[in-house]
């Protein structure tokens, strides 16, 4: 099979193809998973670029006018401050070397680096008193986002929500610790602690996943509990459907 080239995919995305080419590309995409993946990667790159510009514009304007303007004081470590090392990002085996003295943020987010598909990037929750081995890990695997929830007590609720924002959130029960991450174009990047002001409803684990990501899987203790695809969640053993997401239970 002859695959589509980037020029076709980009023009498809930007609606720049003439009607004949549009049909040709649509027919190919319908039957070719490789080209759909490539399209998703380009779309992710465009999303990352656009999202980056939004952040850039906002801060550039605030910094402006020769430094005369000032930004309001930000809480740097909203929920993590009292729970040092509650959430740790591990990047490969070199995690410990990446801790930066003097940076409270870096002290908690070890690494904070982007990773290509297949690299072992994880957010690991530790030191949860009622479940010392509990963890949430987020990684890219074969082009899909794979969220693994492990060793939480039976009955722990996991709320999975799809959000319009490009930044996902993984949060421990009670919102005690959380991490935000961006998924785009073969890139998983933890962008910081906290939920950035987004309300995290209810108890239990909360996973807020960007609706625009192409594929996602939520595993609970080694079993697939939910799949995210095409902007929808398909959950196994669903406890409830709250309208803005689904709730499943550990051991349910």
């Amino acid at each position: 099979m002859i695959h589509l080239v980037d020029a076709d995919l980009q023009a498809w995305m930007d609606e720049e193809l003439d009607p004949g080419d549009r049909i040709r590309v649509a027919e190919h995409l319908a039957s070719c998973a490789d080209c759909r993946d490539e399209l998703a990667e380009l779309r992710g790159a465009a999303d990352l670029f656009r999202d980056s510009l939004v952040v850039h514009d906002e801060v550039a304007r605030m910094r402006g006018r020769s430094g005369a303007a000032r930004i309001r004081t930000a809480r740097r470590l909203p929920r993590w401050a009292g729970r040092a090392a509650a959430v740790t990002l591990l990047v490969g085996g070199a995690a410990a070397a990446a801790i930066v003295p003097g940076s409270p943020l870096r002290g908690l987010i070890v690494g904070n680096g982007p990773a290509e598909i297949g690299q072992p990037v994880e957010i690991v929750a530790t030191e949860l008193p009622e479940a010392p081995g509990a963890s949430i890990s987020v990684r890219l695997s074969a082009g899909e986002l794979r969220v693994r929830v492990r060793e939480f007590p039976g009955g722990t609720r996991i709320r999975i929500m799809l959000i319009e924002r490009p930044v996902g959130v993984a949060s421990l029960p009670h919102g005690d610790a959380s991490a935000r991450f961006v998924v785009a174009a073969g890139l998983l990047e933890v962008v910081g602690p906290g939920s950035d002001g987004v309300a995290l409803p209810g108890d239990g684990v909360v996973l807020q996943l960007p609706r625009r990501m192409s594929l996602g899987v939520v595993e609970v203790d080694g079993h697939i509990a939910a799949r995210v695809s095409g902007g929808r969640i398909e959950a196994q053993r669903q406890v409830s459907d709250s309208g803005d997401g689904v709730v499943i239970e550990v051991g349910g």
Partner: protein, 165 residues
């Protein structure tokens, strides 16, 4: 063309474009003002003024960068003047992210940067091609390649940032 109408309708997007090119609101103000000043001497309908202004802003910024680099070379022997301290209460996380975005943008070629930013402003491939002097049929491939370069630069910068600490 009614200049006031052109100014009112085109200024926001043009200033945004200039701000993204330069990262500096003062520079953006200057180049956009200069571009509109030059527009007065042109006799262009509004639909032609829009791409014309973006090209002029891009060229003015490019000239500024060249002048800055030339001045930097001339001043290389002099001790650096301390930078204006950054607003102390910008969150560390946000400031780092923006710095990386800025660096990734700066790593793109002038053509790639302008191409992506014009695309963000809603220009069609034909307009981008005319503004940048490339073949319209190659814009799709060039945009895709530039986006991938941005993602790669953004990721590489972060890795370099971590390893240098």
């Amino acid at each position: 063309m009614d200049f006031q109408t052109a100014y009112r309708e085109l200024y926001p997007a043009l200033h945004r474009f200039a701000l993204r090119l330069s990262g500096d609101p003062d520079v953006a103000d200057d180049v956009v003002q200069e571009a509109f000043t030059r527009l007065i001497d042109q006799d262009l309908p509004l639909e032609e003024a829009r791409p014309w202004l973006f090209v002029v802003v891009g060229n003015l910024f490019r000239d500024r960068v060249r002048n800055r680099e030339r001045r930097a070379r001339l001043l290389a022997a002099w001790p650096p003047v301390p930078e204006t301290p950054e607003a102390p209460d910008v969150s560390v996380e946000r400031a780092e992210r923006v710095a990386r975005v800025r660096q990734a943008l700066d790593e793109l070629s002038d053509r790639d940067r302008r191409m992506l930013l014009m695309r963000e402003e809603g220009f069609r491939y034909k307009e981008i091609a005319e503004a940048l002097g490339v073949n319209p049929s190659s814009v799709g491939a060039l945009v895709a390649r530039a986006l991938k370069r941005f993602v790669r630069a953004y990721g590489t910068l972060d890795e370099a940032d971590d390893s240098s600490r």
